[in-house]
Symmetry: C2
């Protein structure tokens, strides 16, 4: 490729709105260009990285026996009604109507479409197992798209769906995908971990996430015996303190405008310590709605809340309007006294006496409250998110890290095959429902995750497997012989199988060097009158090495070897 | 690839709604599966054909110096307002609103997005010329999607956009694309032609279509000195007859319910011949609205109407409501007498006297009408579509064929770069507006067009370059040695670079043969106990050859040679 033709648009400064390194560098290196919130143009350099990732994903999916399909981006609403998700999915589902006023959506995922396709064609056990995948553009109408392509609205995903005769087969398919994913991330060259995850709205009973370790990740991880676990999977033990006897009378105070524990403590003359300020939230899940109580400084772990029988799976925080309807007061004024909803309290509140909480009346709080005396004893459960300083299972303090989710594998069971009546004739026991799994990889998100993990003060540092080019030849000077030798070296590198850029833009040396560093070319080969005097090119790796002369005749084989070894 | 894993879903019968061969065969061969009107799943076999076409397109576009990008499917309305097309585009534009009620569309084309991207980055003449392309899923909300992927709503297109310093550069870019397209269709292996075309709503002043010749094509072509021309580009000469003197008095007759020339002639006791029955329509273009008159049996050529100064570019037929408002009568009762709109008559009407026409009153016609006596002499122009039996430019009868549009190249000039102020600093004359071209290839439509051109009573017959597999190895019989030899042959073919399928489904011979013929595998290699007795495989080409034994040791090189020669 010639640099003059492939629209290299590097910037000296990143736009101010870019908050994380990968977003800044993808803009500066001209990988992407924003078009609207969470919607991007992929410029040639960025697209090359996407295509290299997609190529590795495709090879490993094919090697694992999966078959590639391409399902539509625009999906009819009927299928989503059949699964029940047209209602459930919420505003992230981009709904639309066609010219005949029929309902469609721009697909955020394809469980409905694929199970509909498979049930039409698979009739016999002989046709199973089956794994269909696609690499395709998806849309999720995120309320707050941010961090560039990390949390975009339009993005490219590899999604795969397995169909098996029974649960044992489905778990074998799941395991095969787990291994394929590991090979994919190994080949891409990322430091990643696999953690157990909550299945959330997708459904199913087993799932794991693949996370790229990076300080900017949204996922909180704790080191465990083998690798890492999701922080929300870390249980918190009950404190061994006993509850002291009540020492205060309950008293209602006016707290106009107070909306949080911090504000309450700032407002009161003699505030109780945070562990005696009770924070009350309302959680809603499959089973119902409940008030959840935590000590003031603790964070709610919704995954744990979802395990309580009064709340159930898919737990979320209630909206203020729902809370007001159920309780008669808004956020910031809630509490257990007179609470009409079931009350679940975190284990840490078990030894808590004489506490402050909302009065279930706007602008009022209660002080000196005691469970059992002023309100019924709540149900206690482990509700809080483990935090820095907590003890892990081994008794030692938790070691926390952050990760970026780039892959997710689910064993789905029969959730979708039941809804769509995806049955087959089994070998010996009549009609059976297929067992499914689904498996996603965020192809475009990997670009950002790889840059979060790989960058320095000069720009992007990507593994050669996914860098936009493996090498660049840069002629310096306007002499005819330099241009000719650079072209010959470029052709020789191509012939040696190296994905190489010829930087024919005629930039000054400093600008060209910083450009090639910024966009992340791992191997740079300068051709100049001086290097030609030695019949050589001046070779410099992007990281970890000084420039050195490499004989022109040896360079192609040498660079091909370095690329292969990376 | 193993046939047991890639979801081969052949059908004995095509669904009744499939009207043309390619649609029937794509359903029967399991290339596609309909999901909604004009929206399809691409199953593995069909997707392989799409990917092979896309691969050829990508290679030739890169070789022509174009750079690949990927623009979003979902586009903000602002850009379409800037070009004026948000209003103009009509209902084919799939509009939608996001969760914040902002307007977007699912892109049917990307002129707006690409010119916006380029104007942000190209500032200097040094950055031009530039050609950006993408291979991407598009959506056009066709009112009547039909013929499978031939006229689908969601489809894959390669769209390219060139940016040049001046018109001469733009025309050179246009020419480079014309040559790249020719190489693409040559490599795919289709019989095609290039014809001059009307630029239509895209704008611009020069355009050509690439058409695959096939009897089911929607485009009518006439053979010309070099290749073919679009039938609507064929001029029709003025007749050399002179107009006889008027012989009848004008007379108004009641014609209740008569809406066409055929109905008029059926209704009248002594109808004039069709060439003296004048058909009146109303055309609207950029410049205005006019009545257009044709002899009863002739068809209007809207492209020609658009060249008349009273009508102008983008000519279309007026809607009945528009006609009624302008004339006071509806379709079927229009005529030149008392017509308030400008009147343009086809050259064939010049020698026409004593004719019948509508009276511009519903349910009434006039007989014995004469130009110059009963109404003003109209403006005469070549308006009719040339037809079978007309003389061509060489005096011989026109030879007509049909074609399927698979590519279209446009020289756009500054239509979009003006609207978006896409200017650059020129080398010597200050700020200049970029000159643009745009170039489309219907990637998914090519699959259908290739099958229209290539099929027989057994199924799909595709060139090896785009067949789903180049060859298939088919073991017959359940003996261990057969399975082992088939697997070894399959591996040897892969090693020889042949894209080969191992048909491990264990079907009976007849079913497997008809399946492989139906899906269009060009080279079939059967391994059986009988063939192994000769240390051979039984080779049969999909078309034009008998089965013959091929020594196992020679088969890989032989098949690789046949594939390369195709």
């Amino acid at each position: 490729m010639l640099a003059s033709r492939i629209f290299i648009n590097t910037l000296r400064e990143a736009p101010a709105e870019a908050e994380i390194a990968s977003h800044r560098l993808m803009l500066r290196a001209g990988y992407i260009e924003p078009l609207a919130a969470g919607i991007f143009n992929w410029q040639p350099l960025g697209l090359r990285v996407v295509q290299k990732i997609a190529g590795i994903v495709r090879e490993e999916m094919n090697a694992a026996g999966a078959a590639e399909v391409l399902m539509p981006a625009v999906q009819p609403a009927e299928l989503w009604h059949a699964s029940g998700r047209w209602q459930v999915y919420g505003k992230e589902l981009l709904r639309l109507q066609d010219r005949h006023e029929r309902d469609y959506c721009v697909g955020p995922t394809h469980e409905e479409v694929v199970v509909d396709l498979v049930r039409r064609h698979v009739k016999s056990w002989r046709q199973l197992p089956l794994n269909l995948y696609q690499i395709q553009t998806k849309f999720r109408d995120e309320i707050r798209p941010r961090y560039g392509v990390m949390r975009a609205r339009e993005f490219i995903m590899k999604d795969a769906y397995s169909f098996d005769r029974d649960a044992a087969g489905a778990l074998a398919s799941y395991q095969a995908m787990r291994e394929a994913y590991s090979r994919i991330f190994d080949r891409i060259g990322l430091e990643y971990c696999i953690v157990a995850a909550d299945s959330g709205a997708i459904g199913g009973s087993q799932s794991e996430e693949f996370l790229v370790l990076a300080a900017s990740g949204e996922a909180l991880l704790a080191r465990a015996a083998a690798g890492y676990v999701n922080l929300d999977q870390v249980p918190c033990a009950a404190p061994d303190a006993k509850r002291p006897a009540a020492g205060e009378e309950m008293k209602k105070v006016d707290t106009p405008g107070v909306a949080s524990i911090e504000e309450l403590r700032g407002f009161l003359q003699q505030p109780p310590p945070p562990e005696r300020c009770v924070k009350t939230m309302v959680a809603v899940g499959e089973k119902g709605m409940a008030a959840v109580l935590l000590a003031g400084a603790d964070q709610l772990n919704l995954a744990k809340a979802g395990q309580h029988p009064a709340i159930g799976a898919g737990a979320r925080l209630a909206e203020e309007a729902e809370v007001r309807e159920a309780v008669g007061a808004g956020f910031g004024s809630l509490g257990p006294v007179g609470m009409p909803l079931p009350v679940v309290a975190d284990l840490r509140l078990q030894p808590c006496a004489d506490f402050a909480c909302g009065a279930n009346e706007d602008g009022k709080h209660l002080l000196g409250v005691n469970f059992g005396r002023d309100c019924p004893e709540p149900d206690y459960a482990d509700l809080r998110l483990a935090a820095e300083g907590d003890a892990g299972a081994d008794g030692k303090p938790l070691e926390l890290r952050r990760g970026i989710e780039v892959g997710h594998i689910f064993y789905l069971g029969t959730k979708y095959s039941d809804a769509f009546k995806a049955v087959y004739e089994s070998e010996d026991s009549g009609a059976q429902t297929m067992e499914m799994g689904c498996y996603g990889i965020g192809v475009t998100r990997i670009v950002a995750a790889a840059i979060e993990q790989g960058h320095d003060e000069h720009g992007v540092v990507l593994p050669a497997a996914i860098a936009p080019f493996e090498a660049a030849v840069l002629p310096l000077g306007h002499e005819e012989e330099v241009a000719k030798a650079a072209r010959a070296l470029y052709e020789a590198l191509r012939a040696a199988g190296v994905d190489v850029l010829l930087d024919d833009r005629g930039l000054r040396a400093g600008r060209a060097f910083s450009d090639l560093d910024l966009v992340g070319v791992p191997h740079r080969l300068v051709v100049s009158k001086r290097s030609l005097a030695e019949n050589a090119t001046e070779y410099k790796p992007r990281t970890g090495g000084e420039a050195r002369l490499l004989p022109l005749a040896d360079a192609p084989a040498e660079i091909a070897k370095l690329v292969a070894a990376a």
